[in-house]
């Protein structure tokens, strides 16, 4: 259980890496790293979703991935910190998380009835 959540954590970290890579890669080495991070990240996320509720895994993965991406662009790529932007991204993630959790709950209720 905890090991699987750890897998989700690593997947989210690699997600941030490949998003940075897609935005900033400039040569063979950086593009290769980007593709490897992309493949491992998705593999870890999908296999974690086979053990834990898939919607919940996806929601946590995307929330962490987005937070990481926003933090990385402010810390490393001189993107200005904007409260309105953080707030809007938080609202967007609330919507995504809500959709995923509602779907997991419906699947569970469907299995029980």
């Amino acid at each position: 259980m905890n090991r699987t959540w750890l897998r989700v954590l690593v997947a989210a970290f690699l997600e941030v890496i490949w998003v940075i890579g897609l935005a900033h890669s400039y040569d063979f080495r950086t593009w290769t790293g980007t593709v490897i991070a992309l493949i491992i990240s998705n593999y870890l996320m999908i296999t974690a979703g086979q053990i834990l509720p898939a919607g919940t895994v996806y929601a946590v993965f995307v929330d962490l991935g987005t937070a990481g991406t926003v933090i990385a662009e402010i810390l490393f790529f001189e993107e200005p910190f904007q409260w309105t932007k953080i707030l809007l991204i938080a609202i967007l993630l609330t919507g995504v998380t809500g959709l995923k959790l509602v779907t997991d709950n419906e699947a569970r209720e469907g299995a029980e009835s």
């Binding site: 897609l22 935005a23 991204i89 967007l92 919507g95 959709l99």
Partner: protein, 104 residues
Amino acid sequence: MAWFSLILAGLFEAFGVTMMNQLRVSRNWQSVLLLILGFGSSLLLLGYSLRFLPMGTAYAIWTGMGVVGGTVIGMLRYGESKDWKRMAFIGMVLGAAVGLKLIT
């Protein structure tokens, strides 16, 4: 162009996810091909838009569009529930995406 390709990327992502669910029901090579095409186009378009838009904003909208698109396809084609909670969450994602476009 950057925003257009970002929205399109999100829709291709939703399409890819739908094909993935389709594969769970029946395994056939058409779905595999469409899945690769969906995710491939999604990543290419996202990569293009990431060259012009702030990373966090673009990534958030991409996943948002993917999830909302997938949910809407599920509602329309596979008879998934359309209850008010899901509608409200879809509204939050779309509203926030429009807001992000306005402030970027």
